[in-house]
Subunit: 155 residues, 2 copies
């Protein structure tokens, strides 16, 4: 049941690659065996570093469903997701991910994400991208206001 969807994702990547629209990546969101969202890499074409295939497909499916939840859906992508896309899959509540090539395969053609996986596991003080904290007390005021809202939508 999974191969036809993976085949479709791979074909989409190849099609977009032919048009030189960016990296060779594509993804589908499937619900009850129907494709409800698709995406391909648009980092270069769209001037958007967050426009990885998976992110674009998740956003497309959510617009289709008019929901911020993709519970009950599966993601098919021609390559193992990077940390950004994997974290997005958790926020979207996807049920499962099916992928083709590995992160090592992606690294071999110039799309390395091992350094990001490593960075995320490090304490903030040891990261290459400096993270500094300031004005925590001021920032907490908005949090307290949110927490006191009776009708907030949790997600």
């Amino acid at each position: 049941m999974h191969e036809p969807f993976m085949q479709q994702a791979i074909r989409l990547a190849e099609e977009k690659l032919s048009r030189a629209e960016g990296g060779p990546f594509a993804a589908l969101v499937v619900r009850e065996n129907q494709v409800i969202g698709q995406g391909w890499n648009r980092v270069v074409a769209g001037n958007d570093p967050t426009a990885h295939a998976e992110i674009v497909a998740i956003r497309d499916a959510c617009q289709q469903l008019q929901s911020f939840s993709l519970a009950g859906c599966r993601l098919y992508v021609n390559c193992e997701p990077c940390p950004m896309c994997l974290a997005a899959a958790y926020w979207a509540g996807l049920d499962a991910i099916y992928y083709g090539a590995t992160r090592e395969d992606a690294a071999a053609i110039g799309f390395a994400d091992a350094h990001i996986y490593e960075e995320l596991g490090r304490p903030l003080s040891a990261r290459r991208l400096p993270l500094s904290q300031l004005m925590r007390a001021e920032a907490l005021k908005a949090f307290a206001r949110w927490d006191a809202l009776p009708d907030k939508i949790r997600y």
Copy 2:
């Protein structure tokens, strides 16, 4: 030099919270001490689980610059970024991140991301969100075609 930008991010979060547009989060992208992008949480308002403040601000700044790179830019956000947003900051090439509240502060009002940080550090086979590989050989064909392109734009 950092406090006024953080103050502006906190104020933006409070303003959007007043309009009940979603979680109490906002971010700014700053380049040469000018705000070139801003974002606030639009997960609920936009039916988009990827629309965290940082992602929205990064996309906004990139449209402003017409570039997928934010090298030379800083991100100001009223809360420590989740793994998705932190990974996006690496892909965007940001120089530094300044944040207000901590991930523990966010968890205390219902926005927990510790489980995602933990999951990313686990081997694929041990994750709660199942990841399965199939059709690697077929997927690698598009990668080989990309690798052979003479005029590809690396990012």
